[in-house]
């Protein structure tokens, strides 16, 4: 009798995660096989044991406390009775799903004095076949044995001493591991890389700023493309039929000074569609040409196939840091819609081709320029969710402005290359709301207001529920149709991670990272 669970555990650890299994992740809702749940990144679970009627009975099943003190931003993976996640700065832990007890851990020594603008964080791991992959804050990509956590290979992606770092979860596609990077506050030249999952050899690199002779290089004055940023620090999505990767790119460098980089500054603040085999650019859409407000477009591209304005289309939905919700045709890149979903003043509008009409009053100045949203954005890396059941796009919107004062920004390797300091607007308290947008029009159907601008991701489920959290540590469930609060739990620490749902022993659970804990809830 007592041997049975052990045997099951051994069997589970031997199971594989081939690419075909990730392709069909939607048909396996008991697992969570990739960062955003599926390649479409809808963060929608078809599990429906937890419903509007019984969610009030959710109780904590177990919790796990991480070792470090940095922000815990990870989304876990759940594969065959094991949960895998990264702990900040760059560790990986595997837990037994039934008990929450550790099976192995990978602890990385991080060099002292790391140059990382916004915390030594990590948002998750990828799994493929018998390996787990993590990007590290010192800009390496590491492959671990999925059974033991032992290092299979460890390659340098870039030099951390010049301000490169890796914070996003990798994405496993076919036989490759796609990994983004950060560092656009230090004047790096951004890129997106693919590595052979078996050998760790680099298969391709897409540069965020085109070099001389390449299309788009003319959108940078002089040599400014060399320090032009356009990093790739949030995990993208993948359309297997089109064989296209969709990835957001970050701000141009320096963040707040445009006159040293005249032009549109491609491919900063873009959504790029890349051939997954070669990394070649199929199309791009630039949300903010010549950005001077640090409006990285490092958000989650959500892929949806639906009838749009009378005809079936393959869409990508994108709630941007700049305060607008966009719909594009994901095969052609055609701009279809932009709708404001949060307060903004940087654009006077969006023209019919999707190009913003900039407001010169929001250019950072010595006297100070008031900008909405602030440079933490109306949206940011925290994941939205799309429910095919309600046809709503759920986004945690941040409502806060700031005043930007221009400073100097001389480029030196490894030093901050930003060009402004920020002050709060006196007397203004930021706030936020989980907003349900009609996915095809961007019209707001309802909102659930929260005290502080949120950093939590969102999960929607077939139980007609939406899960999310607050900076004060409340983890909550709303009615997916109305936004009515149905359940909440104070977790004791800020939530800057995305919830997931999975099955363990046939029962549905919801997991969330909060403070320095990973918490798992199920019906009692």
């Amino acid at each position: 009798m007592r041997l049975l669970p052990l045997l099951l555990l051994v069997a589970a650890l031997r199971a594989q995660v081939p690419y075909e299994r990730i392709l069909r992740a939607a048909s396996e809702p008991g697992s969570w096989l990739t960062y955003s749940g599926t390649y479409e990144s809808q963060r929608y679970s078809t599990l429906s044991q937890i419903t509007r009627a019984n969610v009030g009975r959710l109780k904590m099943a177990w919790m796990y406390q991480i070792r470090g003190r940095h922000k815990f931003e990870a989304t876990p993976l759940v594969i065959d009775d094991v949960m895998y996640f990264s702990e900040p700065p760059s560790d990986v832990t595997a837990l037994d799903l039934r008990t929450g007890r550790p099976l192995w851990s990978y602890r990385r020594n991080i060099p002292e004095g790391m140059i990382v603008c916004c915390g030594q964080v990590n948002r998750g791991v990828a799994a493929l076949d018998d390996q787990v992959f993590v990007g590290t804050v010192d800009a390496h990509l590491v492959a671990l044995d999925r059974k033991t956590g032992r290092v299979r290979w460890d390659v340098e992606v870039a030099d951390y001493k010049t301000g490169h770092s890796i914070t996003p979860a990798p994405l496993a596609v076919k036989d490759k591991i796609i990994i983004g990077m950060a560092g656009a506050e230090y004047g790096v030249r951004g890129f997106l890389d693919a590595y052979d999952a078996r050998t760790g050899r680099r298969a391709w690199r897409f540069w965020g700023t085109p070099g001389p002779g390449e299309p788009g290089n003319e959108t940078w004055s002089g040599d400014s493309w060399k320090t032009g940023g356009a990093s790739t620090w949030v995990t993208g999505s993948y359309d297997p039929e089109a064989n296209l990767l969709y990835w957001g790119t970050g701000n141009p460098g320096p963040d707040y000074i445009g006159d040293v980089r005249e032009g549109d500054n491609l491919y900063s603040d873009c959504l790029v569609a890349l051939d997954a085999d070669t990394g070649k650019l199929k199309w791009y859409f630039q949300f903010v040409p010549h950005d001077v407000n640090d409006m990285d477009s490092n958000q989650i591209p959500v892929l949806v196939d639906t009838v749009f304005r009378g005809r079936p289309r393959k869409l990508v939905l994108f709630a941007n840091r700049n305060g607008f919700y966009y719909i594009l045709d994901r095969i052609t890149g055609e701009f279809l819609l932009a709708k404001q979903f949060a307060r903004q003043n940087w654009a006077k509008g969006i023209d019919p081709r999707g190009r913003p009409i900039p407001n010169p009053a929001t250019v950072p100045s010595v006297e100070g320029a008031v900008v909405y949203p602030d440079d933490d954005g109306a949206a940011n890396w925290h994941s939205p969710s799309y429910s095919p059941q309600t046809k709503l796009f759920y986004q945690n919107a941040r409502e806060w402005g700031a005043i930007y004062y221009r400073t100097e920004a001389p480029y030196e390797p490894g030093k901050v290359f930003a060009g402004a300091g920020r002050r709060r607007i006196p007397g203004e308290e930021g706030w936020g709301a989980l907003r349900a947008l009609d996915a095809l029009t961007g019209e707001m159907r309802w909102e659930f207001r929260v005290h502080t601008p949120p950093w939590s991701g969102i999960l929607s489920t077939a139980g007609r529920l939406v899960f999310s959290g607050t900076m004060e540590g409340d983890f909550f469930a709303l009615d997916a149709d109305t936004g009515k609060l149905l359940w909440r739990q104070q977790t004791g620490g800020p939530i800057w991670a995305g919830p997931i749902s999975y099955l363990s022993e046939g029962r549905q659970y919801v997991a969330i990272a909060a403070g320095s804990s990973l918490l798992v809830f199920g019906l009692d």
């Binding site: 470090g68 003190r69 940095h70 922000k71 002292e112 004095g113 790391m114 140059i115 990382v116 603008c117 916004c118 915390g119 001493k161 301000g163 506050e185 963040d255 700031a402 004062y405 400073t407 100097e408 920004a409 001389p410 030196e412 390797p413 490894g414 030093k415 901050v416 930003a418 060009g419 402004a420 300091g421 920020r422 002050r423 709060r424 007397g427 308290e429 207001r449 929260v450 005290h451 502080t452 607050t470 004060e472 540590g473 409340d474 909440r488």
Partner: protein
């Protein structure tokens, strides 16, 4: 304002590099390297408020230089690629942020203490060295944190610049009670406040029928009408003596 004080203070800064030129260089470096998080005046934002006399993670100048160079483990403060000399210049500049301007005072600190404890009844709301009320800011080191001019204005016109973290709130409870106080904490679902008699109340927001946040308002009376000008100056002298 910062620049005006730099030259006065340069001679007092312990670092050999803290010449006027070194400080100006430190200020420039602060603008390009630190203001992104700490704000152009160093009074915080994403990063900590550095415009204070004592820095929590940098008890002395060596610790401050180390924090600038290597970052502060477990916090968002990263390391930097600044040279050792540049780090010292930035440190010298950061030390000036927390220094307050001084002026010749006409008041008498001993008499001011008498006003504080007597006619002013300041201890009802303010703490000095662990004694007093909790409604207003702790004044134990008021003289180290605030200039005489700021303290004078705070006494005469408390609503001119309400200190951060002291938001006045007024609530009405479901059973009709009206309570005014200073916000202790708040989240999406609850609110905690300290009322004018120093009692802490905690409410679920659903229990309240009204919540008013009085930005720019202060429960502190304007002492312009309560104290004679000389008494105000004595009180300022006493507060300045609290270091």
């Amino acid at each position: 304002m910062i620049k005006a004080t730099l030259f006065l203070l340069a001679g007092a800064v312990a670092w050999g590099q803290a010449t006027p030129d070194g400080l100006a260089q430190g200020e420039r470096l602060f603008g390009s390297q630190c203001a992104y998080c700490h704000g152009p005046r160093g009074d915080g934002g994403r990063g900590a408020n550095l415009a204070v006399p004592r820095l929590r993670h940098a008890a002395d100048d060596a610790a401050l230089v180390q924090a600038i160079s290597r970052g502060i483990p477990g916090t968002g403060m990263p390391g930097s690629a600044l040279s050792a000399r540049q780090a010292r210049q930035v440190a010298a500049f950061v030390r000036t942020l927390g220094r307050v301007e001084t002026e010749a005072l006409s008041g008498d600190a001993a008499r001011g203490r008498w006003v504080f404890e007597g006619k002013g009844a300041c201890g009802r709301c303010h703490t000095i060295a662990g004694r007093g009320g909790g409604l207003g800011p702790d004044l134990t080191d008021a003289g180290a944190r605030s200039s005489p001019q700021y303290l004078r204005e705070a006494l005469l016109d408390p609503e001119k610049e309400v200190p951060g973290g002291f938001l006045q709130v007024r609530v009405v409870t479901g059973d009709g009670r009206r309570i005014t106080g200073v916000r202790v904490n708040e989240d999406t679902f609850s609110l905690q406040l300290r009322d004018l008699s120093d009692q802490v109340h905690s409410f679920w927001k659903r229990e309240l029928t009204e919540i008013h946040k009085d930005q720019g308002k202060s429960p502190m009376p304007a002492y312009r009408s309560l104290l004679a000008p000389a008494e105000v100056e004595d009180l300022v002298a006493y507060l300045v003596s609290l270091q």
